[in-house]
Point group: C2
Chain length 454, copies 2
């Protein structure tokens, strides 16, 4: 049941009070954002009006939780000076994300916002937005709890208390240990501080117990962030530069987002759509990307038709061929997509790599061949009965086996070759594949028919 | 360059030493597992031999990090008594996972292993494996750091130190606050313990600052775990029963696994393959699942052929129709897959839901219609030029527009309806869709041709 705006406002009021009492701030910000989205569905002006009436810190937390299209509305409606104040309340990674979005809408406004922000923070944001959205640096946050190797736990905790008061560092979770030049030496979960006394020096703990030193460069691809997080079960990853200096950290919530983004990119890539185009409210943008892949599909479909054209006189003599030929192409396309999908996904998850090409291709060809043989017999019998032509059954059976072998082979090989060449194996591989299975399917079926039936 | 077994053994030796010195245990276990996988590629007996030679605690950590097929080899080769010892070293979630795998291979052996394990732990494992693999309970671990509402931070930390020594609780990260009946009252990051003095009572902190109370039931679907983790930016989720009693927690590394599993299920579901069948070494199992969907595809392809069969005399008079008809079907299938993929993925991410059906379908139909009009003109001109028949261009253009409208409509509607019925919208939806686009494509093209050209 849909709630009306007044009911939503009452609920929002109640949540704001809870937020201000300091209980579960994150949870409340998320829930207020959800309520605001409901208001926005019914009235955009009311949505903007409500958001503007919030206290500054709540505005920041809620803005970060809104959907991308709601954020766009808000960023357009709020002026540069106020945006600057909101952004100053945010963690640097969220702040950079918002500034980047303002830039996409209105570059001049983004410049004004950055000029209004405190100089040091604006410098950090400018640096973060300089990273490409496929680079780890774009997702890092510079707020973290740092301790020096030669200080005691007690000294560092005293500093943590100060930082918490001043900058509102949330969710520290780990202490990042550095030397006096800020070079990263290792990280420890907070619980280790509790377990050791306040007089213990970090150097002694590390000498005795070690500390995890895995880290990432800001220029590394986001796939590497996901790989590290999964392999080492890390819920935060330190980011260091080429001199080993600690720059920031990527936290679990960003790792979740990156994993979802990676999966969406793969799923969309195989279908010829693009995340950035789809999530914008601008339908023309989505249409353009889709049109690109549809255009390529048209070219390959015409290529398959040209193959059919070679056999027009055969079809004219035996019209049953026209009736049956889409079956051969369809089964090839389907079996090939199965092989392709498994190969693309296992490549992405690191379960296989191009050096194992021989094993993967053999497996896929065997699988396709096995199923090809079964359905060749089934379809052969159906065709024989349907058109009362025994040899037509033989032709469709044979061509189906040929096409399914091609499907398994190319379904595995196309993504392996693309990956080997450093190209994303998800994007466009399915158009390439169906071109192969259409051409092989039509050519083998009509070719064999010409040889055997005429 | 591939390393030979001797080189790998030297590297493994070195890592074992580092592991035993206690530095970065998790990191080393993961890296030793990677090295072992390389050994296994060259010689399975050497892989088993090496694994068996490891100290018990390392065996447990490494076994948990191995790939599923490597785990299967190990579980077959190691006897029940030794497996029980290894499992006792594991966290409960990993232990349950391993016992479940032993059960899949050899149920009698699994029973023996459980009998050998310490009674209390075996009870916990039996409970965990009773959950379905789509339920949150299957991924929870019972090791966690619990504090009572009326105790002081100091008292709880003293207990944590004891627990750490006895059971080796790693990565506590949070304190879970309960009442004297073990009912969950809220959680706090460890850093809050550092910030408050040891004499502070938990009740006072919660009264003042609140604590996050979001939790999940063991019977909840894993999709809910992913949703909560994303929405509330949680890197650990408490699991409670229907009386509110704290049972365990699901940690970030498991949430990563669940997110990957969810994405893989979606990608595979759309292609008609299944993760569990594909990741087993047993090629027959993978073949069977794939054969099922290929069989359904065969039935739908035959249905489309029956439609073509209605028009056999039309095709006989104008053989160009046979040449061009796959283009109409292919463009419909492609555009429909774009709509389907976007809808399935956005449903999965919670960006849209079935109540928004009208908006989503309108958007998809508009997008398909737009691109349909463009390519209808393009293809109409091509067909006209190719076969020198102006009206043939009109027929293919019209049928393409009709088929692309159907593609957009059904591409959005099929997953929305499936979701509304509580069925997974990823699985099988693409076979349903291509049936529609094939049938509509062939029927509109050949039907219009019969009406206009004959």
């Amino acid at each position: 049941m849909q709630r009306n705006i007044d009911e939503l406002c009452i609920e929002i009021e109640r949540r704001i009070k809870l937020f201000q009492e300091g209980m579960d701030e994150n949870a409340h910000a998320y829930e207020i954002a959800e309520l605001l989205e409901e208001v926005r569905e019914q009235s955009k002006p009311r949505f903007i009006e409500l958001l503007k009436s919030f206290p500054e810190d709540l505005k920041a937390d809620v803005l970060a939780e809104l959907s991308k299209s709601a954020q766009e509305d808000a960023l357009e409606a709020i002026d540069a000076k106020e945006l600057a104040e909101i952004i100053e309340e945010m963690d640097t990674d969220d702040a950079a994300d918002i500034v980047q979005q303002i830039e996409e809408i209105d570059e001049v406004k983004a410049g004004e916002v950055l000029d209004e922000i405190d100089e040091e923070e604006s410098k950090v944001i400018r640096e973060l937005i300089s990273y490409d959205e496929d680079e780890a640096g774009a997702y890092m946050q510079t707020e973290l709890f740092k301790a020096y190797i030669d200080e005691t736990i007690g000294e560092s905790i005293k500093r943590l208390k100060e930082i918490k008061k001043v900058s509102g560092l949330d969710n520290a979770y780990h202490v990042f240990i550095v030397d006096n030049k800020d070079r990263f030496l290792g990280m420890m979960p907070m619980e280790d501080l509790v377990l050791h006394g306040p007089n213990e020096i970090y150097r002694n703990i590390i000498d005795r117990e070690g500390a995890l030193t895995v880290s990432i460069r800001p220029q590394d691809p986001i796939d590497k962030v996901i790989e590290l997080a999964g392999n080492y079960n890390m819920n935060v990853i330190p980011v260091v530069d080429e001199w080993g200096i600690l720059l920031g950290r990527i936290t679990a919530d960003d790792i979740y987002d990156l994993m979802e983004k990676q999966a969406t990119d793969q799923i969309y890539g195989m279908a010829g759509v693009q995340e950035e185009s789809e999530e914008s409210e601008n339908i023309i943008k989505a249409g353009k990307t889709r049109a690109f892949w549809l255009g390529i599909n048209l070219v390959t479909a015409i290529a398959a038709s040209v193959v059919i054209g070679f056999f027009d006189s055969t079809i004219q003599s035996i019209v049953a061929l026209a009736v049956l030929m889409p079956i051969v192409a369809s089964m090839g396309g389907n079996a090939g997509t199965q092989s392709l999908t498994v190969t693309v996904r296992q490549l992405a998850l690191g379960d296989i790599d191009p050096t194992e090409a021989k094993r993967v291709i053999t497996k896929e060809v065997l699988l396709s061949l096995g199923n090809g043989l079964i359905y060749a017999v089934v379809m052969g019998l159906i065709a024989y009965t349907w058109f009362d032509m025994p040899m037509l059954g033989v032709v469709i059976g044979l061509s189906m086996v040929i096409n399914l072998i091609a499907a398994g082979f190319f379904g595995a090989m196309i993504p392996l070759v693309l990956k080997g060449l450093g190209i994303d194996p998800a994007v466009g591989s399915s158009v390439l594949l169906t071109t192969v299975t259409d051409v092989v399917g039509f050519f083998s079926f009509l070719g064999l028919a010409t040889l055997i039936l005429l």
